[in-house]
Subunit: 266 residues, 3 copies
């Protein structure tokens, strides 16, 4: 028997909106510690890892660990029917091949039950080792989303370069080149507007903008985003989910075959 | 000579927006008592009845009853040119084959005349007998619109079931099933937020969601909607038009050939 | 060496949005007096003239007059990456085949450089003689935009007729006719809401609505628009750019071959 009651149901709606375009089908893993997901995107280039800890739920009952395969597009269709202030409860009976999403309006005048078929999905759980990163950038999530969107009007890839002074996002395309520099800035009125750089050594890596843009769909979940970079490691783009967990996106850097031709001049 | 002056011109704009996708061409009937319309949708499944009583107009002159055939798409194009605060006057000379819509801005600085050709449309006026309904549900129009929209993401038909406790909207589709229950609730701060159920006997009927969704385009006309249900009678979905009349949509229930297969489990 | 620093960068964004659909490629001319452009639309029917005077820039350095050929679509893509509160600096080195747009956020925490290739564009600069106009109408730019948009739902051309009392916009199409009269009105609370008519003699001219609609994309630049009309002269539709200059659109009137058939009844 599984019964997870989430008072802030809009969180789950936002989680689905942030991953449904990247991942088609995925197993949600439910255990005593929390509700989680790990999945590759359909072209096996990017990895998503979600964790919602059990403490974040008003009520959390999970008698035994189970893995529930869901089509994220269909799950999103159902969650869209929940109001933004609704309480969402996820329910599944032992051995059942369905999951039920229950939505309760704040006044309790409207109660909805949506039942969805589960799927069998082959998946291997990847161990993601803790790593030391050369540079960690924390910045406003809306700013990062704006930069990725702006640059994709010019080119297909972004070079992210971190120095002590700031982080630079560069691209190059048919119509020209673009460089956007965000300076380290910790003296802001609101902490979530800060741009904070922790750097052990300078790093400069190239990524496909298509994926970066997809990751930024998680921006509604958090005011800030953390970007962790190391040469020869996938970048981690992390959005914290307040008091519950996180959603993390992993993407391997592109190896430039001929740097002179494809790398923006910096 | 016909001259109908409507101070709240936006009402007429909203009326057109609510029926123009359902009905292509229709006769507007104008008599001493009011301005009305009765028309079937193009597939002859749903019926619309509109009444704007003469008392609701600032000035109402209709020397003799006439029927004016109009293309609702063209009429809507013209009414879209009226500002939301404009006064709208409908004018027609006796024997003329045109109708004129005059729009006056509140400051009288801008006066527009739009003249449209009338059409000859065959139509038979159906007598709609007053009927006793098994159940009458009054609920917020925005809530009803939201439910119809949400359910059409899951299935094609909706089963509306009324009991003393509440009204249930159910559907079933390839991706699963959905049940939304709205409880009777009369103790709300604002009367228009109430859900009120008058029931003589329980009733459960199935309708095409496509039409229900179309009817809900009338939601801007009224904060509440009244749904009147009886077995073997068409449902009536009614939006009152403040102090002037109403717009009513009639739709026959679907007869389920094999209930077990197509009816959601309730 | 060219370096033009515009504190209100959003002005340049709005200028591009107002002309990029009309003109594909154009030369921007930069001299000691200002930054200007003159270009025909791609079908050589309408003419755009832009002037941003040097005094309007915070910093204006232009060592020698140059003409920079740009693709307006690409330039618009780059300017869209500027925030609405950003300071925009246009830079070009002598003899360089590129131009650089620099965007500085108000807090100076984000600095962007966009470099774009210049193009060789053949163009002849037309001398536009100062002319006496029969009638000059000044009216709210949003009102003029609304009228052009509304009329293009009915017909393809607009007849603009000016008398002492007001200005009339008329059209005719398959579904009927439309006449919109705006009365002279100088006693308004806000000066920008006035409709002011200076008339030497009555005038009535016909124009393609497609172009008029395109011109109204400049409405965000100014609360008012000035329309100058004379028989046998192109109309001038002018939007002032506060304290800096203007954008002017010129369009030749249509000559009606058979007035009785195509002219709206007035």
């Amino acid at each position: 028997m599984l019964e997870l009651r989430l008072v802030q149901g809009s969180l789950l709606k936002k989680v689905l909106e942030s991953i449904k375009d990247l991942v088609t089908d995925a197993n949600f893993d439910c255990s005593a510690t929390g509700f989680s997901l790990q999945a590759m995107d359909s072209s096996h280039v990017a990895l998503v890892a979600l964790l919602l800890r059990s403490e974040g739920f008003e009520h959390y009952r999970c008698d035994r660990s189970i893995s529930m395969g869901m089509n994220l597009g269909n799950m999103s269709k159902m969650l869209k029917c929940a109001g933004n202030d609704d309480i969402i409860t996820i329910k599944a009976d032992d051995g059942s091949d369905t999951v039920t999403f229950m939505f309760e309006s704040p006044t309790q005048d409207k109660i909805s039950d949506f039942e969805m078929k589960l799927m069998d999905i082959d998946s291997e759980h990847l161990g993601i080792p803790e790593a030391e990163y050369h540079a960690i950038v924390r910045m406003p999530s809306a700013e990062f989303a704006r930069i990725c969107k702006d640059l994709s009007g010019i080119g297909d890839t972004v070079v992210i370069s971190v120095t002590k002074e700031g982080v630079k996002f560069s691209t190059r395309g048919d119509i020209g080149t673009a460089n956007i520099v965000c300076r380290q800035n910790t003296t802001v009125d609101k902490p979530e507007e800060a741009t904070i750089i922790e750097m052990n050594e300078p790093v400069s890596l190239t990524f496909a903008l298509r994926y970066m843009n997809s990751f930024t769909k998680a921006s509604p979940l958090s005011n800030t985003v953390t970007i962790s970079l190391s040469s020869e490691l996938p970048v981690v783009v992390e959005y914290k989910i307040a008091e519950m967990g996180y959603i993390r996106f992993y993407l391997a850097p592109k190896i430039e075959e001929d740097e002179d031709e494809t790398k923006p001049q910096v």
